[in-house]
Symmetry: D2
Subunit: 319 residues, 4 copies
């Protein structure tokens, strides 16, 4: 058996597009509880209080919505070189950037469905200004308690016209491992969950029922505790944020979840995984069948229909 | 900068000695909520409901108490070979075992303070008997809800007459990284926390104020949620288990903790780390000073005096 | 303004019928976590760990299901006499019983829809046998941690062919106050929540869409904390108990809820009200409109259809 | 047996004095999460989000600290008249006030230790301005999520040079019931907990070890859930608020607690009682002995020494 690949350390950040930049920024800062750590051009850089890098969300004003790109940080400069070689061999490379406000140069490449990824090792660590210094020196920023006050970026979910090529791409380009998957009765892969470290997943791909390509499903920030998700529901309710579904516990991965739409329509999840980790180096993917899925989520809640159709950007009529 | 070492996948199990085998077994099964998965000789094999291996605790009847050995699982057979080479070069190797009820052959070696470690790759995965099959296929065993019903093994803590050599040993033998440490005003290392994966720590070493060598401080099982620790306190209270300190939140590592003594005197912790993980590949150790420590735990609880003196086996008078 | 009536102290107990007596008993004892405190004839007497009386649930083997009767305890013997006078004046009295295993003589009367109520003052307080004695002397029985381990009886919900007469009955017979209600666009009362103390409600009546009379909707036990409701969901899941809806937060009364069916089909809720109490002596009923109800529960979950139709006993075909 | 007295509905408000008015106000509004609902003279009126009256805390700038007075609301105008008669018969009456910004006229009287009490029935109910209107119509104000965001006033604790006369006073003047008490080995009453409704206690009196008279121990606001108390600890920590003790669970009354000092030195508790209520009309007081108290709080935490000495105003040297 091959050895696991540990070249990629963790999910770094997402760049999301919004056509309601002021409202979206208010949502992420005052309701979700991210902190602004920089601005450049049409973008605002945001972070959760225990993210160690300058940003985990780049929010960019645009005519549309969805994900502009996603970045992962490698375990070392040498690991980045190894990944670059693998990606170039796959023929999906785009090329180097000069870096961004929040990190050094990065190598960009494209998923089979058209999503833009990048890998980088050089990064900028967040240094808390005096007003944000934590009482305990082992967290990145003070627990400010503002809004949902999520702790750190957790994972993201893409939609794809075809899930199988995305699976091969994640394994080949990043060295990701499949932890769970949905296999339909005809053998089609309808969803796939990946990890590149001990988190149970940092990325998921699910089938876009609209048939569109390259769309975005959701970004997830982790709350420190499960009860923070329940508290988030009250905060969303009182602030007029559209709650799509939850709080409830996923059957797949067992995550306690709550889904909302930020003002521009991008789906945002707050979630807590409990003490679940994938520590086993030879973990075998868990496969869920159509019969399994008909049971709904862990405690019986039916999967909401919009989960299969709502993505960003929206699908235009006639497309 | 060197690349991180990912040869060791995770902490596997501890073998604890008890001179009260029936009472200890009752504690671990009915109060802490572990499940018996085998017996051999004087030993009972135990596991938490989401441990994927046959056992994470081997409880062995003995004339004394403390830790007989600790096992870590490597990421692959090749990784085991690499570690063995490193350990032999360090001159602390003991040699191969034929394996145990719960795993295949292992390589044993000794810490500078005399604690016995082993590394293994071949293991036995737990297959739940019908009565223990979970409703959801992505957990190892059903959530039985018995006693504290801890989810998985988390970490352990050793006492050492001198912490510095233990730090070098953990880095050299396992490839562990130091995540946090206590450095006294005279530069002495008084405590050190290590991880070999994305957990914030899987092992800690603290100074034995008795001057004894090779003793054991505690084993920790993780509850799925923080509120399970509070519930555990009520369970321990109602069952007459000695509560040493907690529930409270550690300043170091931020873990929500509760410490008790099992009937034979071995210290057991139930804990929850929240959503905290060490994902950063170039994490720099956090150092706590004497002044920091005088502030007590996160919310001000003074560190209990017995934390520096109570270990197993007990120190004999005159020693 | 009239003074509030404080004659009735609290909801005492329900007698539920089951045509699956062994399975129902196993549910209430091993899954919900009640404790058996007596047996007599076809009945088993059950209590939650902090109920102060001998029983709060009398489970009686029968050919059918539903509620046989409900008992409330008065604040004093004199208060009982005052209520009796009021009830006799209403013309709905049945007469005195000789008492039951769990309490002294009681006065029975009938609701407009045919449900049997009783009032009593003389009661039998639970005296914990040695194995059930709590560590702290201010709770009635030890926190045993078995199953969901609910803390105390909370409330019950009846179905009625017409809600308005039930409202007048509760106000007239018990001196209950209406805390919340659903008023349809045509002015019909579709649901009504009552309290006779500082609890937000101890009884609810909702309209039976089947048109049947005198049926039972659910009994509710309170968990000590909200997280116990989430834990209950896992326990129900692993024990094959049918989860109807939840966990979620009610819009009406704000209770965090979870509904299941015990093996004979009687609906059981576990719930937590947070710190909500009705302390205000001149509380004015909150009215919910059809438009309000279309928003679903507090965080948007749609009210499940079976909530309007499933009651016990079941409605026979052709009836 | 006499019938219980239900003349007093609930604890209404406290007036606290502060010699650090700006800092105290910032604490109560931005850290504890109360909302300002009025100002008059040197006083600011404050309320928790589910308090139904205009205020539950009147914070008054002063040269000293401690409690200026405490108000209880009666169940009716007639009940107020009955209490007045009882109080006048006891000889501790002061006389009528013209009312306050937050309520109508009140009758004041004095405790044996000199604390000022008042009873009122006419009150002013809080009407939320548009920005504070809740999403659900059954709570008084939106859940704003600011700071600890406590839900409602819960209870208060006075110090007294002699506890026994205070007990007789509470029973005689308010009709309170004793729910728990500390009786020393020599028969002296060292602490006493009272309720006038179904809450487990709304007032406590404990012995002032300094020998001073008429001092104040603490005011308590209830969080909606127990986990809010843990979250409060992080908020206090990050805002430099002095944490005296907790979070932990009281042996007496079983409340989950956390004590801090607001900037002027008045002690403030945030607490959660779980689902515990005193519904039993013939509840017999629970007595705790010196031996009981030596066991510490519920899970073994020793009662902090300052609990017996720190009160407001501070005791002057030489007094």
């Amino acid at each position: 058996m091959d050895e696991p690949i540990y070249d990629v350390a963790h999910l770094g950040h997402l760049e999301l597009l919004t056509d309601q930049p002021e409202k979206s920024l208010n949502f992420f800062v005052n309701i979700l509880g991210l902190t602004e750590s920089g601005r450049e051009g049409d973008s605002v850089y945001l972070r959760a209080w225990d993210d160690y890098e300058v940003h985990t969300l780049k929010l960019t004003a645009s005519k549309t919505t969805g994900m502009a790109h996603v970045g992962y940080r490698t375990a070392s400069a040498a690991a980045l070189a190894r990944r670059l070689a693998a990606i170039e061999a796959m023929g999906c490379g785009i090329g180097w950037t000069d870096g961004d406000l929040g990190h050094g140069r990065s190598y960009r490449f494209r998923s089979p469905d058209g999503h833009v990824f990048e890998l980088y090792y050089d990064t900028k660590k967040y240094v808390a200004p005096p007003a944000e210094r934590p009482a305990l020196k082992n967290i990145a920023q003070r627990y400010h308690g503002r809004g949902v006050a999520v702790r750190r970026i957790d994972h993201f979910n893409l939609l794809a016209s075809d899930v199988s090529p995305m699976r091969d791409f994640m394994i080949g380009a990043l060295g990701s491992r499949v932890t769970e998957q949905i296999v339909l009765d005809d053998g089609t892969l309808a969803g796939c969950w990946f990890t590149i470290n001990n988190k149970t997943y940092d990325m998921a791909v699910t089938r876009d029922h609209s048939g569109a390509r390259g769309r975005f499903h959701h970004i997830t920030y982790a709350t420190d505790h499960r009860d923070d998700v329940l508290r988030a529901a009250d905060i969303f309710l009182e602030n007029g944020v559209f709650i799509e579904t939850g709080p409830h516990k996923h059957a797949i991965q067992g995550t306690f979840f709550l889904y909302v739409y930020e003002p521009a329509g991008n789906r945002v999840e707050v979630a807590n995984a409990g003490a679940r980790l994938i520590l086993q180096p030879d973990w075998e993917p868990i496969s869920w069948t159509e019969a399994d899925r008909r049971k709904g989520q862990a405690w019986g809640l039916k999967t909401i229909e919009s989960f299969h159709t709502h993505g960003t950007p929206p699908v235009r009529a006639g497309k």
